[in-house]
C-alpha cells in the first residue's frame, strides 16, 4: 500500500501548506500555555493568601488540654470540692466527613450512646469552630477508651481526651451554697449579655458553674483550656505537634463555711419533722456564713458525674419534680412571714421614734378587737414592759405598739432595715421578699384586680387604680398584724440572718457572704489577680444607740435565759440571746399536720461580744421555741466546746 504519485499533486506546495498549518498549531499551543499560566498567576500570586490559610486549616487541629477547675475548701482549708481524672470521647468534626450516619451507627454500638442525642450533638456542632472537637461521651469507662484505641486506625478522628470531672466528696453537704457545674447552655452562649456568652470566650461543651458559688465565682474557679496544635493527615491521624498553649488552671477558693459547724447543722436539719427547713449560721461581725443548710438537699455529683447516664438523668428529673423542691435554696429563695422574730424590728423602730422610751414602755397585752376583727393573743400579761413583752413574746403588746406608732414611722424602719431588698449575698437567684408596707398591699390588690380585668379582656384604667387604692387601704388590722411579723410580710432566712447579726452587733448590717478567700493567679483573659476577698459594697448601718441596743440584748437574753419562750437554747457560760417566731402558714380552720406553723429561731451568742449568730427555720413543725431553739443550742454548744478547747473533754464525757 505504498503511496502512489497522483497527478496534480505538488508535494513541495503541500509541505509548505502543512508548514503553515503547523504554525497555527504552534500558536494554539502558545495560547493554551498562556491560559494555564494566567490561571497559575491568579491562584499563586493573586490569591495565595486565601489558599495558604485553607491549607493550614486542612492540616492543623487544636486538641483541648483541659484546665483543671479550682478546688473549693472550707475556711480552715478542708477540701469540699475537687476534680477527678476522667476521659471524654471526642470526635474531630472536621474529619467526620460526609458519612455522619455511618459514624453515628458505629458510636451508638461501640460506646452505647443514645442515637438521638448524638445526632443532635452533630447538628449543634455545625455552628462551632471548624477544628474544635465535639464531646460525644463523658466519663468514658476504661472499656470505652480501649474501644477507641482499638479503632484508631480506621477511625482516627475519634479520640479519648482527658477531662477532669467535678467531684463533691460530701455529696449533699452544703450543696446549695456550693452549687454544681454543668455544660453551658446554647441560650447562654448566644446571649451577648449573659456572663457565659461566646463574646466572653465560652464555647459549646464548656463546663461552667450552674448554681451556688460554683456559678458566682466561675471566673475565678474555671481557668482556661489550653490546646495542642497538631498536624493531621487527611484521615485525621495525628502526625506531630507544632504548637501548644498551656492551660491556665482555675484558682482555688476557700468558702466561709466551717465544715464542723456545717456538719452539726446538717444533722439538725436531718431531724426536722416535715423534712424541710433552713439553718444558716454566720459571724455577726462581718457577715461570713459559717454554715448554710437548705433541707432537703441534693447531691451535686448527679450533675457532674452522672448527668450523661440514664440513672443520673432519672436522678436529676426526680430532683426537679420533687414537691419538696430540693434544688431550691430556701435560705435565699424561700420567703416566709417572720412571725415574732420581727418584734425586735418593731421595738427598735418604736424606741427610735419615741413611741416608747427606755423608761416608759408599758403597754397593755391581750386580745384586741379591731372593728370586725378579733385578734387574739397567746399571752395575757397585763401591762408588761418592753423586756417582758420580748421575753414572753406578747402579741397583744405589739398589736398596740404598732397601732401607737402608725404606718409612716413603721414603714420608715422597715426600709431602714432594708427588708424587701436583696441582701446581695454572693449566690445567684436571691429573692427580695415583700415588706409589710402599704405599697405591698396595693401591689397584691392590683395584681388580683388586673388578673380579673384581663380574664374579662378589659383595659386597665385610672379608675381601676383608684379602686386599688380604695380596696388596699391600710387598716388597723394590717398595722397590728405587721407589727408582730404577720400580714403581708415575706422575708427570706438570709434577710433575717443579716437582721439578727445587726441586732447582735448594734446595727451594723454586713452582707452575708460565702467567699472567704480566692487564691491569687491568672484569669481566663490572662490577667493576674491578687488574693480575692469578698468586697462588701452593700453594708449599711441601722441607727441603734447603746441604750436601745441594750434593751434588744436584754430582751433576747431574757427570752433564752430568764424564763422566756426560748429557754431551750440556753447554754451555761455562753450567753445565748434569741427570739422565737411562729409563722402562720394557713388560717386556723385549715390546721393539720401539713399546715402546721413554721418554727423560727433567730439568735446569737455570746451576748456581749457576739461571735456567732444563726437563723433556724423548721417548716410546718409548730412552735419556734420547741422546734428550732433546741437545734440552735446544739450548734452553739458544739461551737463553744470547740472554740474553748473543750471538745476532747466532751467526747470523753460521752464515752462514759
Amino acid at each position: 500500500m505504498r503511496p502512489m504519485k497522483e497527478p496534480g499533486f505538488d508535494s513541495i506546495e503541500d509541505l509548505r501548506q502543512a508548514g503553515m498549518r503547523l504554525e497555527i498549531i504552534r500558536y494554539l499551543a502558545l495560547a493554551v500555555f498562556v491560559i494555564l499560566a494566567g490561571r497559575l498567576w491568579y491562584l499563586q500570586v493573586m490569591n495565595s493568601q486565601v489558599y495558604a490559610e485553607r491549607a493550614e486549616q486542612n492540616r492543623t487541629r487544636a486538641l483541648t488540654i483541659p484546665a483543671p477547675r479550682g478546688n473549693i475548701f472550707d475556711r480552715k482549708g478542708r477540701l469540699l470540692v475537687t476534680s477527678q481524672a476522667s476521659y471524654n470521647i471526642v470526635i474531630s468534626h472536621k474529619d467526620m466527613g460526609k458519612n455522619t450516619n455511618e459514624i453515628a451507627d458505629l458510636l451508638v454500638n461501640g460506646l452505647e450512646i443514645d442515637r438521638d442525642w448524638l445526632i443532635k450533638r452533630f447538628e449543634d456542632a455545625k455552628y462551632e469552630a471548624k477544628y474544635e472537637s465535639i464531646v460525644i461521651k463523658e466519663m468514658a469507662s476504661a472499656a470505652d477508651v480501649a474501644w477507641v484505641e482499638a479503632h484508631q486506625y480506621e477511625y482516627p478522628m475519634i479520640r479519648a481526651e482527658q477531662a477532669p470531672r467535678r467531684f463533691y466528696p460530701y455529696k449533699t453537704l452544703a450543696a446549695h451554697a456550693i452549687g454544681y457545674v454543668g455544660e453551658v447552655d446554647r441560650r447562654e452562649l448566644n446571649d451577648p449579655k449573659s456572663p457565659f456568652s461566646r463574646e466572653r470566650g465560652y464555647k459549646l461543651g464548656d463546663v461552667i458553674g450552674k448554681a451556688g458559688i460554683e456559678r458566682t465565682y466561675n471566673d475565678l474557679l474555671m481557668g482556661k483550656d489550653g490546646a495542642r496544635l497538631v498536624i493531621v493527615d487527611s484521615k485525621g491521624r495525628i502526625q506531630r505537634e507544632i504548637g501548644r498553649t498551656e492551660p491556665i488552671p482555675g484558682r482555688d477558693l476557700n468558702m466561709t463555711i466551717d465544715l464542723d459547724i456545717q456538719k452539726v447543722a446538717e444533722e439538725q436539719t436531718d431531724t426536722m419533722p416535715a423534712g424541710r427547713g433552713v439553718i444558716v449560721v454566720a459571724d455577726p461581725n462581718n457577715g461570713e456564713i459559717l454554715s448554710m443548710v437548705s433541707h432537703p438537699s441534693f447531691d451535686p455529683n448527679a450533675f457532674s458525674l452522672r448527668a450523661k447516664t440514664d440513672a443520673g438523668k432519672d436522678e436529676i428529673r426526680e430532683l426537679q419534680e420533687d414537691p419538696d423542691k430540693p434544688l431550691y435554696n430556701r435560705v435565699i429563695q424561700g420567703a416566709f412571714p417572720p412571725g415574732s422574730t420581727w418584734k425586735l424590728m418593731t421595738t427598735v423602730a418604736a424606741l427610735n421614734e419615741g413611741v416608747i422610751t427606755p423608761t416608759n414602755n408599758k403597754i397593755q397585752d391581750g386580745d384586741i378587737q379591731l372593728g370586725n376583727y378579733h385578734m387574739s393573743s397567746m399571752s395575757h400579761e397585763g401591762f408588761p414592759d418592753i423586756n417582758r413583752a420580748i421575753l414572753r413574746s406578747c402579741d397583744g403588746y405589739f398589736y398596740r405598739l404598732g397601732l401607737k406608732m402608725g404606718v409612716e414611722k413603721f414603714e420608715k424602719w422597715v426600709d431602714l432595715f432594708r427588708f424587701g431588698h436583696r441582701t446581695g449575698i454572693d449566690l445567684p437567684n436571691e429573692r427580695s421578699g415583700t415588706p409589710p408596707t402599704r405599697a405591698t398591699k396595693e401591689m397584691i390588690y392590683r395584681s388580683v384586680l388586673k388578673r380579673q380585668k384581663m380574664d374579662k379582656g378589659l383595659e386597665w384604667t385610672e379608675k381601676d387604680e383608684e379602686e386599688v387604692k380604695r380596696q388596699a387601704k391600710w387598716t388597723d388590722y394590717d398595722m397590728a398584724a405587721s407589727a408582730f411579723g404577720q400580714g403581708m410580710n415575706a422575708s427570706t432566712p438570709i434577710q433575717l440572718l443579716r437582721y439578727v447579726a445587726g441586732l447582735a452587733n448594734g446595727g451594723y448590717m454586713y452582707t452575708p457572704h460565702l467567699l472567704y478567700r480566692g487564691a491569687p493567679g491568672g484569669d481566663r483573659e490572662g490577667k493576674q489577680h491578687p488574693e480575692a476577698k469578698f468586697e462588701d459594697k452593700n453594708k449599711f448601718t441601722v441607727p441603734m444607740d447603746a441604750e436601745i441596743h441594750e434593751i434588744v440584748l436584754k430582751g433576747m437574753w431574757s427570752a433564752v435565759n430568764a424564763g422566756g419562750t426560748a429557754g431551750a437554747a440556753a447554754i451555761e457560760g455562753f450567753d445565748v440571746c434569741g427570739k422565737t417566731g411562729t409563722a402562720q402558714v394557713a388560717s386556723k380552720d385549715k390546721a393539720g399536720a401539713k399546715n402546721k406553723d413554721h418554727a423560727w429561731f433567730i439568735s446569737f451568742a455570746p451576748r456581749d461580744k457576739p461571735e456567732i449568730c444563726s437563723v433556724i427555720l423548721t417548716e410546718n413543725a409548730g412552735m419556734g421555741g420547741r422546734q428550732s431553739a433546741p437545734r440552735a443550742k446544739i450548734i452553739y454548744e458544739d461551737y463553744y466546746r470547740r472554740t474553748r478547747g473543750l471538745a476532747e473533754e466532751t467526747k470523753a464525757e460521752v464515752a462514759k
Binding site: 502543512a18 498549518r21 503547523l22 498549531i25 499551543a29 494555564l36 489558599y51
Partner: protein, 365 residues
Amino acid sequence: MFGINRRYLSDFDWLLLGVILLIAGFGVLEISSAEPTVGLWRRQVFGVAIGLVVLFLATMFDYRRIVNAAPYLYMVGVILLALVLTPLGKEVNGNRSWLYFGSFQFQPSEFAKIFTILFLAYYLSGVKKRPLDLRSMIIAGLIWAVPTVLVFMENDTGSALSFTSFLAAMLFLSGVRWSWLAAASGALVLALIVAVPYVKTCKSYKCERIKSVYWPELAEKRFRYQNDQSEIAVGSGGIAGKGLRGSTQGPLGFVPEVHNDFIYAVASEETGFIGSFASLGAYLMVITRLIQIARRARERVGLMLVAGFASLLLYHVAVNVGMVVRLLPIMGIPLPLMSFGSTSVVATCFGLGLAISVRLRRFVN
C-alpha cells in the same frame, strides 16, 4: 542508516533531551516529596531509565521502517486494548485500563495512542488529494474509531479524547477544507452550548466532575473535594513555594492520586509560581521543538508523525495541568514524564525518540 557515528552525535537533539531529563528529574523529586514513605521514586527512576533506552533505540532506527510496520503495531495495540476488557484487565479508580501479566502490569492505551499516530501518519501521508477528500477522512476516522471505542469502553474518557486530539491535528495537516473546519468548530461550540443545561441537572459522575469545576455549588461535595484540595495545593504555594519537602497537601493525603495524575499540584505547592511556570515553560519548549522538527521533516510521513505526537503531548499537558488548576474537569490523564507510571513514561519516550529520529534524518542523505 543505523548505528552511532559522528553525525548522529552532532545532529542528535541534545537540547530536547536535556529538557526531557530536567522534566523527568523534577518529576522524580516531586514523587519522592509527595509520597515520602514509599519508595515510589525509585520505581520512577527505573521507568525513566527504560524510557531513555527506548528513546535511544527509537532514534537509531529509520523512522520510515517503523512507520512501515505501523499496521502491525496498530493491530497489536488494538488487541492489547481488547484484552483489557477480558479478565486479564484490572479496574483502578473506576477506569478499566490496566493489563496484568503476573506481577507485570501496564496500560496498553498509552502505547495504543502512539501506534495509532503511526498508523494515521502511514495512511494520511499516502493520500495525495488536496483538499482532503471525504473517503480518506472516513478511512482515517475508522482507524481512529477502533481504539477510541475500546478505550471508551474502558471508561477512560480522557484517553478517548486524546485520540481525538491527534486525529483532529493530523486531518488538519492533511489539508481539510477550511470551510469544513469552520463547520466542525461551529458544531462543537453549538454542542457545548446545548450540553450545558443537561450537564447542570445530570447526576452521573462525569457530569458531577464537570459541575465541580464550572458550577461547584451544583456539584456534590465528594466530587468537589479533589478539585478543592488540588486548587488549595497550587494556590497555597504562592510565588516561591513551600520548598522541597514542604508540601502539606500531598504527603498528608489531602490531594488524592498525588504522585500520579496530581503530581503537578504538589510541584506547584512546593515550588510556587516560579516552579510551576518554569515547568510549564519546559513543556512548551518541548512542544515547540517538536513542531519545529515536524516543519523540517524530509517528507510528509515524518511531519505527520511528529505533529501527531506533538498534539498528543499538548493535549496531555493541557488537560492534566488544566484539571490540577481547576480549569478542566478531572480526567485520568497523566502529566507526561512527571506523573508516576512507567507505561506513560516509556510511551512518551518512545514518541520523543521517533521525533528525534525524524530530526536526525531530516536531510535527504
